[in-house]
Structures are given as structure tokens and as C-alpha cells.
């Protein structure tokens, strides 16, 4: 059932069908695209950069929608006993606001950055499984749209973003069914993305890119992917159990049958707590990339930052029941989880101090990305401090289910994640699109948003302590909550103005001059390639010699430790030194190997990734030496063509099947919701068929007639002979 490489009519590329493609092409309509243009290009792309941009663009649209939902909530709550939203409407809007912001904004935005950057940052040409990557995006988009169709099909989810049972099993209508199925679809997207990125980071690093030379953003994203890998199955089960209760009358949360509502809470928060670290760690990684560049100093305590990130990932598994302090789990449980929650503040605090130390005595350049990063550090600290107060069980018993909690998580998620991601947007915009965003507008946006944000969520602390409960659609006049609610509403509109400024900035920047490869004089590998990068990323896979490799290629240090532009490249320098030390065994390279091995041997036991560094350091350096030799060969024209002409880099081929397969999922879910079996079966067949077609087509189609046999691409894509198992 494979597909020939004859181009579709609209493509001008005319490649003759390769020999050995005697495989039948029964479905002429579904010929595999070769060089699709325009929309078709985006629909069938397997290029991680395009996929990253699509993730981010879709996430931004959802951000607008979620933001409008927030504004609606704030209008309703801006004055007591308001009638802007009915109770039922309010329930839908606040549920969708939360669900959207978490699953359709922050997660995909982080995924977008990770997708675009991770392969480049580790020196690869793409992720390990490019088609699976595309699949993840299309599944996310399908899931998000599927969930939103609920607004037009009887009403949106209305049981809160947390869906507490037994209420969620009893709520009439299909609203919560859309929530259950929608999240399941989204979970599939995130899980495939996690597996993809984990394998990419473990396996596709350039020669010399040991784990402890990787940029911090890669590390933080990696930890987040591991959290996703292990946490998603838990909510998957919770959602299935709820689905069985709702669709088939099961009893998992049926109190009358003897079920325990706490089962839902445990399962949900076992996922939910690692989830919040999934939401914050990538943004922390972004901040750790931005601050060094605009302080012109390396990140303070890189190894400690890595280990803290891993520690947060680890400990994050041990705190979930702090969401359940008021549920009657008993004093032993609450005490234990209180302790673990306080404990997790330690690695988090360490990070904050390291960021401060990074900026300390640096040559600060207060650009827009820098401001957003500093905004993260300050606002996240505030949110973290309120978090510490929640860790204390008696005070949490008062705070829980009040606006004080709402304040906390908006400070860490908006003041933290969103600010961090905006910083990332400003920082990496030139790399992604070749143009800089206007820095002055960016600064305006920052200050407007900072003010608006604090005006909105600052008062929530007060309201919470004044006793205003969460999840209410209105409140009476005589409580004394009016003033701060009104202030918060005004603040929220100021945030909206900030977002508008960003949109104006994006629009304006279309006409900006080209930004160049390295407008920020930055430190990591993505700045060593053109802006925007060519499809193959690197003309020559880099040989990495240090952390912040790009910086070291540009600068060396003078006697006072200050960066000075290199006159000779690292390769030239090393060649000269090696020549001088020809007599000594191995030359300078061996010394570096020893240095690195000693460096990494001292690190503490942590998660699997940390162990890998120590274990494989020797191997990596061996590979580095070997690759270095080979690299030298390749550079000196091992082929008939000179070096690596960009046309001679083989990349994975575009494909329909990820998109096709993703469309089947909402179809199956509609069938289940409306109990219409034929639709389910149709969806199931569609899914299976798409997966078969996908599995049976090679990841990279054979190209020209004079090239029989398997191609070895410099990406780790499979050659046509092996089964494309992405």
C-alpha cells in the first residue's frame, strides 16, 4: 500500500519515478507529496520547525480565546450580583478558560518552542520521529477544535478544568463528555510528543554534545517530557473511568455503590501536580537561556540548575495530595505531603538565586526578552511564596477553595509561564522568522502587562483571605469584595491591551529588516545557523567542544576572564596545538577528554538522564574524536561534490498520514458521545488504515534513479529499506 513519488499536479517539481518503486499505487489521489507548496506544504510537513511554528500559532489563537473567556469572567465578577453570565454560562466559561489555558495554550506553546529548538540545540537535523511529530500536532489541533465544537453542540464542559467526581459523572448533557474525550485526544498528542523528544535528546545529539553540554532549555524540556511520559497515563485512566461511569453506567465514582470520590482526586492530582511542573519547567528553561545572553555572563551554576530541575521533577511526584488537604485524608497524609511540598521549594529557590547570581555584575542589556525573563523571576517568586503558605496545612485549610489559591496559580502560571514564554517569543522570533520584533513595543507590552497582571491577580490574595470562594458565578453586595473585584476587572482589560500591543508588534515586524543569524550575540547552537534556518538546519553537523558551544566559537577569554573575539577558529587553533604537541600521546584532545570525564564523574545520583552523562561521557568523547576525524575527511571533499552542498542533505519526506490519522480521533469520539456505533467503526477503520499506510511507507522516499539502495541521511531517519516505524 505504498505510495509512489510522482508529484501531485500542482507541484512543478518533476521527478521521474525511481526504479524499484514497482510498489503499486492504488490510490492515485493519495500519492505521497514530494515538494508540496503553500497550504499543502504545511499540512504534510514533517519539518520540526514548521511543526513548532504551527504549535505556537495555534496556541496563540487559543490564548486569545482563553483570554476572552477570562475577560467574560471578569466582567461578570466585576460587580456583585451581576447578570452578564448566567450560572450555567459561567460554569462553561470558567471551565473552558482553565482547560484552554493549560492544555491548549501553555502546553502547546512549550511544545512549539521545544519542537523548533531542541533538535537545533542538540545539533540534529530533526526529531527522532518526524511523522510522529506531525501527528502530535494535528492530534492536538483536532482535540482542541473538537472540544470547542461543544459550544455549538449543546454546551461546553462545565465541571471545572479538574472535573471532580462524583459531580462530573452526574452532570447532564454532553458537556463533560467533550471534556473527557477532548482531554484523551490531547493526551495522545502530548504522549507521542514526549516520546519523540526524549528519544531525540537521548539519541540525536551531535558529536561532542554530551548531556552536560546541552543548553538548559533542553534539560528543562527533557524533564518535562519525562513528567508527561509518566503522568499522562494516570489521567488517561481517570478519564476512562469517568467515561465508563458516564457512558456505560459503571460505578467507579458512584457513591451509592460504595465508590470513593477521593479515587478521582488522587488519580487526577497524581497527574495534575506533575502537570504544573510540565507547565513551568520549559519556561524556566527559557529564562535560563535569556538571562545569560543579556547579562553577557554564563548561567550561574549550570550543573546545579540541571540537578534542581531534575529534583523538581522527582519531588513533584511526591506532593500531589497537597491539593487534597481539606478532603479528610487524615493527619498522617497531610503532614507527609506538607513536608514534601515545603521540600520542593528548595530546588525551586535554588534556581531563583542562580538566576539572580547570573545577572549579578553582568553587563545587562535590558531588551524586551530580558524584561520578560526578569518578570518571570519576580512574579514567579511571589507565586512561589504564596505556594509555600499553602504548604502549611492549617493555613491552607483556610486558603483552599478561595481566591487566594487562584492568586497563587495565576502568579506562577501567568507571571511565570506566560511571561517566560513571551520572553522566549521575543528572543527566538528573529531565529524563527528572520525578523526582530520591535523592542520598544515589546517593552511597552511588558510594562502594560506587568501592571495589568498585578492589578488583576494581586487583589485575589486579599479577596481570598477575605473569604471569597472560588468557582462562584456571582457574590452578594454586602461582603466587602466589590472594590477589589472591580480593580481586578480593570486590570484584566489592561492585560488585554498588552496582548493587543503584541499583536500589533507581530504585524509590524513583517516589514522589519532582516535580523541576521545572531542578533543578540548569543551563546547556543541555534544562533550559529541562518535566520530562519534552512530545512536541514546545519550544513555540517557541528562538532561540539564545550557548553555554550557557539559562544566559545566566537570568543575566547583574556587574562582577566573577559570575552575577546577569536582571531582563529577553534579548529585552526587546535590543529596548530596538535601539530606542536605531535610527540605527546593524543595531544590536547585527550586532555579535554580527561577534563570532561572528571567534571561529569562528580555529579550526584539523579534520574536516568543524569546517570547517562557519567556513563556515556567516555563514549561521547570517543565519538567526538572519531567524528572529528571523519568530519575533517568530509570537509575535504570525500564526495565528488565539494563538502556539504545543501542539496546533498537528505531529509525525511512529507506525508499525509499523520494528518489523516489524527482526523479519525474526533470521529471516534463523536461516535462514542452520541452512541452512534457506525461512526465509531468508521473512525476506527480510518485510524487503523492510516496507521498501516504510515507504517508501510518509508520515512524517506528514495529520490533519483541513479541512487538505488538505502540512503543514509544525516538525520537519524530510517532508510527506505527499514520499516518506517515513526
Amino acid at each position: 500500500m505504498a505510495i509512489t513519488t510522482s508529484p501531485p499536479p500542482q507541484s512543478p517539481a518533476e521527478l521521474p519515478p525511481p526504479p524499484g518503486s514497482a510498489r503499486p499505487a492504488p490510490l492515485r489521489l493519495l500519492r505521497r507529496p514530494t515538494e508540496p507548496r503553500g497550504l499543502w506544504n504545511w499540512l504534510t510537513t514533517v519539518d520540526h520547525k514548521k511543526i513548532g511554528i504551527m504549535y505556537s500559532a495555534a496556541a496563540f489563537v487559543f490564548f486569545i480565546i482563553g483570554g476572552l473567556e477570562a475577560l467574560m469572567l471578569r466582567v461578570q465578577l466585576g460587580s456583585p450580583e451581576n447578570t452578564f453570565l448566567s450560572a450555567d454560562a459561567y460554569n462553561q466559561v470558567f471551565t473552558m478558560h482553565g482547560t484552554t489555558m493549560i492544555f491548549l495554550v501553555v502546553m502547546p506553546l512549550s511544545a512549539g518552542f521545544a519542537n523548533f529548538l531542541l533538535p537545533i540545540m542538540v545539533g540534529a537535523r530533526d526529531v527522532a520521529f518526524p511523522r510522529l511529530n506531525a501527528f502530535g500536532f494535528w492530534v492536538f489541533l483536532s482535540g482542541g477544535l473538537f472540544m470547542y465544537t461543544s459550544f455549538f453542540l449543546g454546551g461546553a464542559p462545565n465541571g471545572g478544568w479538574f472535573g471532580y467526581a462524583p459531580l462530573s459523572r452526574l452532570m447532564p448533557g454532553h458537556n463533560m463528555d467533550y471534556w473527557v474525550f477532548g482531554l484523551q485526544i490531547l493526551g495522545i498528542a502530548s504522549l507521542t510528543g514526549a516520546i519523540n523528544l526524549i528519544v531525540t535528546v537521548i539519541n540525536l545529539r551531535a558529536p561532542g554534545m554530551s548531556l552536560f553540554r546541552m543548553p538548559i532549555f533542553v534539560w528543562m524540556s527533557l524533564v518535562a517530557q519525562f513528567l508527561l511520559l509518566f503522568a499522562l497515563p494516570v489521567i488517561t485512566v481517570a478519564l476512562f473511568l469517568l467515561m465508563f461511569d458516564r457512558q456505560f453506567g459503571a460505578n467507579f465514582f458512584n457513591a451509592q455503590a460504595g465508590a470513593d470520590p477521593l479515587l478521582w482526586q488522587h488519580l487526577f492530582w497524581l497527574f495534575g501536580h506533575p502537570e504544573v511542573y510540565i507547565l513551568i519547567l520549559p519556561a524556566m528553561g527559557v529564562v535560563s537561556e535569556i538571562l545569560p545572553v543579556f547579562s553577557r555572563k554564563p548561567l550561574f551554576g549550570y550543573q546545579v540548575m540541571v540537578i534542581s530541575g531534575i529534583a523538581i521533577g522527582f519531588i513533584g511526584w511526591g506532593v500531589w495530595a497537597h491539593h487534597m488537604f481539606a478532603t479528610g485524608v487524615g493527619p498522617v497524609a497531610t503532614a507527609a505531603f506538607s513536608a514534601s511540598t515545603m521540600f520542593i521549594a528548595v530546588p525551586t529557590g535554588v534556581k531563583i538565586f542562580n538566576w539572580l547570581a547570573t545577572m549579578w555584575k553582568g553587563k545587562i542589556k535590558a531588551t524586551a526578552p530580558f524584561l520578560f525573563a526578569v518578570g518571570f523571576v519576580t512574579m514567579f517568586t511571589i507565586g512561589g511564596l504564596s505556594g509555600v503558605t499553602h504548604a502549611v496545612v492549617p493555613s491552607d485549610t483556610q486558603q483552599t477553595d478561595t481566591y487566594y489559591i487562584v492568586a497563587h496559580f495565576h502568579y506562577v502560571l501567568f507571571g511565570g509561564s506566560i511571561f517566560g514564554l513571551f520572553g522566549g517569543a521575543f528572543y527566538w522570533w528573529p531565529k524563527m522568522f528572520g525578523k526582530l520584533l520591535d523592542d520598544r513595543l515589546g517593552k511597552w507590552q511588558f510594562w502594560v502587562m506587568l501592571l495589568g497582571f498585578n492589578l488583576t491577580f494581586g487583589p485575589f490574595h486579599i479577596l481570598g483571605l477575605q473569604g471569597m470562594p472560588r468557582r462562584i458565578y456571582t457574590y452578594p453586595e454586602n461582603r466587602g469584595w466589590d472594590v477589589w473585584n472591580a480593580v481586578a476587572t480593570w486590570g484584566s482589560f489592561l492585560i488585554a491591551v498588552g496582548v493587543l500591543i503584541f499583536m500589533v508588534n507581530v504585524w509590524k515586524s513583517r516589514k522589519s529588516p532582516a535580523a541576521g543569524d545572531d542578533p543578540w550575540d548569543a551563546r547556543t547552537l541555534e544562533w550559529s545557523i541562518p535566520s530562519p534556518p534552512p530545512e536541514y538546519n546545519f550544513k555540517d553537523i557541528p562538532l561540539v567542544v564545550a557548553r555554550d558551544d557557539w559562544w566559545h566559537r566566537k570568543y575566547e577569554e583574556d587574562e582577566d576572564g573577559r570575552p575577546v573575539l577569536r582571531t582563529r577558529s577553534i579548529e585552526e587553533e587546535r590543529a596548530a596545538e596538535t601539530a606542536a604537541l605531535e610527540a605527546a600521546a593524543g595531544g590536547r584532545t585527550m586532555a579535554e577528554i580527561k577534563e570532561d570525564t572528571a567534571e561529569t564523574a562528580a555529579e550526584a545520583e539523579a534520574e536516568a538522564e543524569a546517570d547517562e552523562a557519567a556513563e556515556h561521557q567516555a563514549d561521547h568523547d570517543e565519538m567526538a574524536t572519531a567524528a572529528e576525524d571523519t568530519h575533517a575527511h568530509e570537509d575535504h571533499g570525500h564526495d565528488e561534490e565539494q563538502g556539504h552542498d545543501e542539496e546533498h542533505i537528505h531529509l525525511p519526506s512529507p506525508s499525509y498520514w499523520p494528518l489523516m490519522a489524527s482526523l479519525s480521533l474526533p470521529i471516534i469520539c463523536y461516535g462514542l458521545i452520541y452512541k452512534f456505533l457506525p461512526v465509531c467503526i468508521l473512525g476506527g477503520v480510518w485510524l487503523l488504515g492510516s496507521i498501516y499506510a504510515w507504517a508501510l511507507e518509508p520515512a524517506t522516499e528514495p529520490e533519483e534513479p541513479d541512487e538505488p539502495g538505502p540512503e543514509l541521511s544525516a538525520s537519524t531517519d530510517l532508510a527506505p529499506l527499514s520499516q518506517g516505524s515513526e
Partner: protein, 118 residues
């Protein structure tokens, strides 16, 4: 899952080189007969489990014995049939992390529900 079964005991250490798609020259593959022997052991343990189930006199010891027997089967399939004993440590870590994490967090949940003391 015991991490003390190291690949040193099995023969030549394989660190990072994979054996998948390996040839008959690879020393790390048990022979067909060895696999059959493993299967016989598994069958014997299963038989033991079923027989023990019927011994009424054991009372609460039944649970412990069955636990030991099934953990043994679990480990044998993972180490030999799934080849984890002979493969790179990375695979072991990926799997064991999930396994241990599951045991710990679900163990805590069940403890908080008082399942063990019912």
C-alpha cells in the same frame, strides 16, 4: 525489580552497542533451548501458584507466597524474554523508573485509603 542482576554475570558486558538485528555471532542471545528452559521454569512457577492457591491451611501466607512467585515470573520474563538482562542499562532505567514510580505512588494512594489494613 532487582538491579543487582548485572550483565557481568551473563557474560560479556554490553554497554552501549545494541544487539537488535544482531547476527548469530552475538554472544548475548540465549539459544532456543535456553529459552525453552526459561519457559519450563515459568510454567512450573505457574503450576506452583495454582497449587498453592488450593492449600487452605496457608491462610495469610498465601498472599506472600503468591507475591514472591509472581514477582519471580515477572522478573524472569523481563530479564530473559525481553532481553533486559543483556541489553543496555538505558532500557532498564527507562522501564524500571516507570515501574518503581508506579509502585511508590500507587502504594501511597492505596495506603492512604487504608487498603492494607482492611
Amino acid at each position: 525489580m532487582s538491579e543487582h542482576t548485572t550483565s557481568q554475570e551473563a557474560g560479556p558486558v554490553v554497554k552501549t552497542t545494541p544487539e537488535e538485528g544482531g547476527t548469530e555471532h552475538s554472544p548475548h542471545h540465549p539459544s532456543d533451548w535456553e529459552y525453552v528452559k526459561v519457559a519450563i521454569v515459568l510454567a512450573a512457577i505457574t503450576l506452583a501458584e495454582v497449587l498453592v492457591y488450593y492449600v487452605e491451611a496457608l491462610g495469610d501466607w498465601l498472599i506472600l507466597i503468591l507475591a514472591v512467585l509472581s514477582i519471580a515470573k515477572f522478573a524472569i520474563v523481563v530479564l530473559w524474554f525481553m532481553h533486559l538482562r543483556f541489553d543496555s542499562r538505558l532500557f532498564r532505567r527507562l522501564f524500571v523508573t516507570g515501574l518503581i514510580l508506579a509502585c511508590i505512588v500507587y502504594g501511597i494512594v492505596l495506603t492512604s485509603f487504608g487498603v492494607w489494613t482492611r
